[in-house]
Assembly symmetry: C2
Homo-oligomer: 507 residues x 2
């Protein structure tokens, strides 16, 4: 990138200072909570879960594939027991790294190695902001969240629906969502794997947006899907079929057990991780049956519930530890690793911030490659908040800067500058400072560093209030990424055809 | 501790659930931002600062000691140049670990190894809470902050004045503060080293509180002092004299350069750390001249300023990296390491929380042994906030829990429980859960995990608002730690004698 273009990118949307689009990499060694021996024990327990207890697949197609591959399949109950060698041989076929290329190749993301990517919040039924309050989400909100993501360089990808546009017909809603994804953004996005068709519609639309066909994407993937495990030990039928479809077509499958300790797993962390590991590896084995070498990601979402009420909790110490430990498991199998930025706060307040920070530091120090729900998650995932998108963008930018490697050389050691300034003096006017001060430090988007009096005079706004102005400015300055006219026409034709087909099926 | 006593301690002050008093240890490997080669370069640059550029000591006593020890001293300017071998030989005499014992031996703290201790905020002129607003601090506020610290098990020590009781006479104020420290708390505390006398009054009072004399404390230290360096490269006279006095009497000296990049150091992190290192090691060398083997701590407080305004910033990416990197330097010299929990927010909002989390994670993952300003710091240190004390206590508790080692055995792997619950089922009623659910997870003090509707019906309070009720409840239930009557009398006699002496000197 030339100096001028980099400077333009740094500015991002006019009015809001932000980091340029960056491929974030983690230069530090991962933090490990398990000793090698403990990790072996968790691995072994997960192998025993696969061998002795089994995983249920509610999909005939999956059962048939697993049967053929030599697993012990009970077709009546759907329970599958796996020999550990079989599972590990299949898992070993999965690549350790995958690059996903959206319609704008500059916004490609790599999962694996020391790459980290941050995603927009996914899945909430509700939306919240300080101007319009809290309400059920709709298509307009969906589009607004996409525009915010596209406007923020630190949001690398669009996860599953940032909110559900419930007013749209259920059987074709996914088409409107995918179309919005490729229209309002040029980022990698998520295909919903509730059944094979819904998933493949997403693949087809990603292909059209790239001026290609589904076949072109097989060895050059564009999209990902999250396969949620219905923990404990169950893959629902549509999810399993969606997994098979996405892997067959070479797209990235993130197998993610949703394992809240105390509810979906035992209350002890080793048990939760052993179960998570068994479930994730069972799903990943299936991806490699569908297409050996197909890209996958080891998904982890282990947190805990409030044992007094059963309410889910996120960003807890247990969640942070699980995010660290899950990374050790993913690396054991040489797989890319997905974690999450979640919290249980009902307001964009200190709790929202500290629970998110616990999750972010746990995920990042655990060397996740994908931090899902990176920006916007509130209320345990029941609400997508515009102010929280801004808050999280700040947290993620700060983390990206914390991961920026340090150069140590004569220039940065600056002995001449130290020599120049006398004892008790200051460096504001030193030439070493003057040459570097504009870009020396991270310039925050949301933080307010004015002194109390100045801050109070200017309205005494909390971070939450300031965040409102930031998303409003981002929206005002939003620029829709250009798309070739022929592709736009193709997209419209595809949508029309598929809507007609699906309406016939639904009727 | 018996089961019953542990359970009582867990409850802490009635009404507020909190962790028991714990000696927190960090079981993880430290996160390192410098390669070994880079660390060598920073070390070498700091040695060159000591050898070629020099450090100023505005104390005749310090200059004379350094001269005698072989340093190159310019008595007119106060500039001292050190041979690197001389400095490193002296630093090598400092112990790698020190235990400080306050009047309650159960509240002893160890600095060094993988121990971590959290301190109350230190030094703000102002106080802030949601009931009485923001105001200049006074003795009542001072006492209130001590009571909060004493009521919170996660606050291991009292730093320098949590606020300045400015209405008290300046020449005897320190005596009232020390007396409050040993009356309202039974924790380790800080002695102000603005001159030798002020420091030694604190040592004497700590001795009286233990039923001992100053002499008894020499090899069994009770207190610590922070020696702030007037960076760049200057030790003020009173600070240097205080340092010498505290080390001579075997108390712990934390030498802390206050190095805001761009103001007190160059803008580049390697330069800031090289300068910090030179300053810290020069001070530590002086402690070992005063008394070889005297306990010390490598203090680091490197953050940055806002280069547009010169305003100090904390909890920034640069601050987090500096906290990680400073740990590498401290470990290189086998010294205990002090970091800080600071932020620049004007409100107890999301910014206060995320900047504090950045500082806490940086400090803890950098393996600090002392996290100074652990609870209560707001507005870049200009205000001690009661609500922030509560918020920080929650953050520190969460960190302590994140550091709790994991047991991996048949019991925690819980294969029987996993076997017992069918696919898609839940673990709420499993016997493994029932036996453990009450203590399985961290129970938060401040976080609210209720769903939105329930939370809203109950008032829709943010974390800041909830924090008010918590400090109010802590104060209502505050219990003054008992002190032997003879010691109380001795304390009063000492105070009367010293106040008379100091009033004569002042008159």
């Amino acid at each position: 990138m030339t100096r001028r273009r980099r400077s333009a990118a740094r500015r991002g949307a006019p009015g809001i200072k932000q980091l340029p689009w960056t491929r974030v990499r983690n230069p530090y060694a991962p933090v490990e909570v398990f000793t090698a021996e403990q990790l072996d024990k968790v691995h072994d327990a997960s192998m025993r879960i696969l061998e002795e207890i089994g995983i249920e697949f509610m999909s005939k197609q999956a059962l048939s594939m697993l049967d053929k591959a030599g697993a012990e399949v009970d077709h009546a109950s759907g329970l599958v027991k796996f020999d550990r060698d079989m599972v590990l041989d299949l898992v070993a076929k999965a690549p350790s790294e995958v690059t996903l290329r959206p319609r704008n190749p500059e916004h490609s993301i790599t999962l694996g190695g020391n790459h980290i990517n941050f995603g927009l919040v996914a899945g909430p039924p509700n939306v919240q902001d300080r101007v319009n309050g809290r309400r059920q989400g709709n298509y307009e909100d969906y589009a607004t969240l996409l525009k915010l993501a596209q406007s923020l360089n630190i949001v690398h990808l669009i996860g599953n629906q940032p909110t559900a546009p419930v007013e749209l017909p259920a059987h074709t809603r996914h088409l409107d969502c995918y179309a919005a994804n490729v229209t309002y953004t040029d980022r990698v996005y998520h295909c919903s794997s509730i059944g094979a068709d819904r998933a493949l519609d997403g693949v087809d639309i990603a292909a059209i947006a790239r001026g290609q066909t589904r076949e072109d994407l097989v060895d050059d993937p564009a999209v990902l899907t999250i396969i949620s495990v219905n923990s404990p030990r169950r893959f629902d039928g549509e999810m399993a079929d969606g997994l098979i479809a996405m892997s067959t077509w070479g797209q990235c499958v993130v197998v993610t057990p949703f394992t809240l300790m105390g509810a979906m797993t035992p209350v002890t962390l080793p048990a939760a991780l052993a179960q998570q590991n068994a479930e994730a590896l069972a799903g990943i084995a299936l991806t490699q049956l569908a297409r050996p070498g197909s890209p996958v990601c080891y998904g982890a979402f282990t947190s805990n519930v409030d044992m007094r009420t059963g309410a889910p909790a996120f960003g807890t110490p247990e969640n942070a530890k699980a995010q660290l430990a899950a990374g050790q498991l993913a690396r054991r199998y040489n797989l890319p690793y997905r974690a999450s930025n979640a919290n249980a706060s009902n307001a964009v307040d200190a709790q929202a911030a500290y629970e998110s920070e616990m999750a972010i530091w746990g995920g990042v120090m655990g060397h996740c490659n994908l931090l899902y729900h990176g920006a916007g998650w509130l209320e345990g995932g029941l609400t997508a908040s515009f102010e929280k998108v801004v808050l999280d963008a700040e947290l993620l930018q700060m983390m990206a800067e914390t991961l920026k490697p340090i150069e140590v050389d004569d220039d940065t050691l600056a002995l001449d500058a130290i020599r120049e300034v006398g004892p008790g003096g200051h460096f504001f006017g030193a030439s070493h400072t003057m040459e570097r001060y504009e870009t020396a430090f991270y310039a925050p988007m949301l933080s307010d560093w004015r002194n109390y009096e100045t801050w109070l005079e200017a309205g005494g706004e909390t971070a939450e209030v300031r965040a409102t102005k930031i998303w409003q400015t981002l929206l005002e300055n939003y620029q829709q990424p250009e798309m070739d006219e022929a592709r736009q026409e193709q997209l419209q034709a595809f949508l029309a055809r598929r809507k007609e087909e699906l309406s016939k099926t639904a009727a």
